[in-house]
Subunit: 387 residues, 2 copies
C-alpha cells in the first residue's frame, strides 16, 4: 500500500469486457483505488482513451505494431509506454503495483500472471485459462510466495464469497451453476448447423466472444471445473455442475456438515470484480438489485454431456492430469478461433479437442517449459485437424 | 472449557422436538460435548430416561408436581434433582456449564435465558419468543456481558452462517423464507373452519405443536422478523419475507454491494443445532444431503398478509416497539393454546392478537418487570376475548 492507502491496480486486458467493467468499478471509488498500469492486445484506440482518462503510470500494447501510434498519442502525458509480450511480463513486477487484475483472454494470461505472483502481487483473476493450463504450478507458486488469488469469474467469486470465514472448514462439494447457454435443450442434430451468429447470443451474460462461444459449447463450464479444483484445493470428484438457466444462483458450496451456502444476484460482472478489489470488505454499490418478484421460479437440471461433450472432455483431461488440461485448452482456443472464422462447425470443436487429447504425449509433472511446448504443439495439431 | 475440552451443555427443554434432536447431535460427537443439565416442563418420563442415558450433573422438572417421581427414579444416580421455575433460573448459572441451549417454548424461556446471559454463558437460542418479548433488553445484556447468542431457528441460523466472516460488512437486507404452511394459497373463507387437525400438518418440517400452528398462521414468520431484527441489529424495514414452499433456501442476506448469500439444505433441524454447538467449526454429519435432482424447481412468492394477518400484525408491533411485541407474543400464546383446545377458530387467533395490541397500554422503554406485567395482563385480556 502506498502512503495515500489507495490500492494501486494493474489491469491486464483493460479494453476487454472485464477490463472496462473493472475501470467502471474503480471510477466509482476514486478514494480507494488508483490505476497504475493498463494493457491491451490490439485495441490501441481504446487504450489511448483510457490512458488519458485514468493517467496510469504505464501502459503496454501487446501487439508491437501499434507501438508508434500509442507512443505518439500519449507523448504529452506522463505515462510510460511499452509494447510486446515481454514488456507485459515485466510491467506487472513494478514496485508501485499492489494488485494485478488479469483479464487477458486465454493462454496469453499465463506468463504475466506467473511473473506477478513471483513478485508478490495480489492477483484478481479473470483469466481462467491460467489455472486450466497450469493450475498446479500457479497455485503452488502462489502458496510459496504467500500470494492470494481472488477469483473474478462469477461462479468462483460466488464460492469464494461462501468460503469467507470458513476457510478452516472442509469443503464436501462445490456445485458450479451453468446457464446452459443459447443451445440448452437442443440435440446434436439441431446444433450441427449453428454458426457464430447464434452461438454468440448468450441468454444472460454479455461477455467477450471467446467465453461466449465456450458458454454455448459448455467448454466454459469445463474450464471452470478445472479452475475450481485448483483455486479451492478439492478433488475433481468434489466439483459438480448443475444447469440453472436463470443464472441467479452463481454457485454453491457444501460443507461436511451437509450445509450448503450459495451466492446469488443478477448477472453483473461488476459485483465479483468489485469484491475481488475490496475483499475482505464490501463497498456500497448502485448495481441493480435482485428481486424474487422478477424471478418467482428458479430451475435446475443435469447438464447434457452427450450433446455438449466438452464438459465430459474437461473432466477427462482433469482426471488424466499432467499436461492434459493444457492440451484441452490449446485445442479449444484454436477450435473457437476457427469457429469464429466460420472454418469449423459447432460440433467439430469438440472433435478437435478430443483428438488432440488422444494424440498428444502425456507429461505427468510438467515444468513451465513443458506447458509452453504442449500449448505450441497442440495448436499445430489442432490446426492440422482444421484442414 | 473444562480440562477435557469438551463443551458442557445445558439443554433447557430437553424433551421437546429441539431438545431431543440436540441430544441426537451430542450423541454423535461424544468427544466434543458433555450433557451438564437437562430440564423439562412436564414430560417427566422422558426426562428420567434421558437422565439415565446422558448422566447430567443436574436435572430440573419445571412442573413441581412431578418432583417426587423424578427424585425417586433417579435416587441411585449421581444426579442433582430440582423442580420449579426458580430452580430452572438458577441451574443455568452453574459454573460447570459452557453453553446453554434454550429450547423452551414461548415466554417461559425469557427468565432462564436472562439468568444464563448474566452469568456469561454462551447461548444457543431456539426459543425465539425470548427475543420477541424483550429483544432490546436481552441483546443489550448480551453485549454488555460479552455473551454470544447463536441462533438455532433454521432461518436465523441460515443468516448467521451467511454472515460468518462478514460481521464487519453492512447488511442491506435480510430475506426470511417462509414455507407458507399447510394453508398457503387458501383464502379466508376456506381457512375459517380449519381445526387443529389440519393446521398441525406442516408440509416440510416436523416440529412442536405451538410452532406448527404459528407456521400455519404465519405468526411464526412474524416472530422471526422480530427475532432477526434483534439478533442482527437491523431496522424493521431491512427484514423482508418471501414465501418459498419447498423450504430449501433457509434464508438470505443481501450486503450493501448488492451481493446475496443464502444457506440451503433439506429441512433438518439437526444441522442448525449442530452449527450452534460447533461454531466456528463444522463437524462432519450423516444428515441426508440435498440434491437438485430431487428439487428441480424452487419457487418464491409474496406472502398473503390479507389472509394471514399475523405477519402484518407482527410488523405493526415491531414498528410501535416498546412492550408491543411482548403483547403480540402473549396474546398469540393464549390464542394458540385455546385454538389447540378447539375453543377459538383459526382466523380468530389474529383477532385476539389485534385487539390486545390496540387495548394494551404502551410502554416505550420497558424494564424486565414491565415485560412481566405486560405479559400477565395481556394474557388476562386475551382470555377475556376468548370468552
Amino acid at each position: 500500500m502506498n502512503s495515500s492507502s489507495k490500492k494501486r491496480i494493474a489491469i491486464l486486458g483493460s479494453t476487454g469486457s472485464i477490463g472496462t467493467q473493472a475501470l467502471d468499478v474503480i471510477s466509482s471509488h476514486p478514494d480507494s483505488f488508483e490505476v497504475e498500469v493498463l494493457t491491451a492486445q490490439n485495441n490501441v484506440d481504446m487504450l489511448i482513451h483510457q490512458a488519458i482518462q485514468y493517467k496510469p503510470n504505464a501502459v503496454v500494447i501487446s501487439n508491437e505494431s501499434h507501438y508508434a501510434r500509442l507512443k505518439e498519442a500519449l507523448q504529452h502525458e506522463d505515462i510510460k509506454v511499452y509494447a510486446g509480450e515481454n514488456a507485459l511480463a515485466s510491467v506487472v513486477q513494478m514496485d508501485t503495483i499492489d494488485l494485478v487484475l488479469t483479464a487477458l483472454v486465454g493462454y496469453a494470461g499465463l506468463r504475466p500472471t506467473i511473473r506477478a505472483i513471483e513478485s508478490g502481487k495480489t492477483i484478481a483473476l479473470a483469466n481462467k485459462e491460467t489455472l486450466v493450463v497450469a493450475g498446479e504450478l500457479v497455485t503452488g507458486l502462489a502458496r510459496q510466495k504467500g500470494v492470494n488469488i481472488y477469483p473474478i469469474d462469477s461462479e468462483h467469486s460466488a464460492i469464494f464469497q461462501c468460503l469467507v470465514g470458513e476457510f478452516h472448514n472442509k469443503i464436501e462439494k462445490i456445485i458450479l451453476t451453468a446457464s446452459g447457454g443459447p443451445f440448452r435443450g437442443k440435440k446434436r442434430s439441431e446444433i450441427q448447423a449453428m454458426r457464430k451468429e447464434q452461438a454468440l447470443k448468450h441468454p444472460n451474460w454479455a461477455m467477450g466472444a471467446k467465453i461466449t462461444i465456450d458458454s454455448a459449447s459448455l467448454m466454459n463450464k469445463g474450464l471452470e471445473v478445472i479452475e475450481a479444483k485448483w483455486l479451492f484445493g478439492v478433488k475433481t470428484s468434489q466439483v459438480e455442475v448443475v444447469v440453472h438457466p436463470q443464472s441467479i444462483i452463481h454457485s454453491l458450496v457444501q460443507f461436511e456438515d451437509g450445509s450448503i451456502k450459495a451466492q446469488l444476484g443478477l448477472p453483473d460482472m461488476r459485483l465479483p470484480i468489485q469484491f475481488a478489489l475490496t475483499y475482505p470488505d464490501r463497498f456500497p454499490s448502485a448495481f441493480p438489485r435482485f428481486d424474487f418478484a422478477n424471478y418467482p421460479t428458479l430451475t435446475f437440471e443435469k447438464p447434457d454431456t452427450e450433446t455438449f461433450r466438452n464438459l465430459a472432455l474437461a473432466y477427462e483431461a482433469l482426471n488424466k492430469g499432467g499436461n492434459m488440461p493444457c492440451v484441452l485448452n490449446a485445442a479449444n482456443e484454436v477450435a473457437v478461433a476457427e469457429f469464429l472464422k466460420d472454418r469449423v462447425g459447432f460440433l467439430e470443436m469438440s472433435d478437435i479437442v478430443e483428438q488432440c487429447l488422444s494424440k498428444m504425449d502425456y507429461i505427468k509433472n510438467p515444468s513451465y517449459e513443458d506447458y509452453v511446448s504442449t500449448d505450441r504443439i497442440t495448436r499445430l495439431k489442432a490446426m492440422e485437424l482444421v484442414k
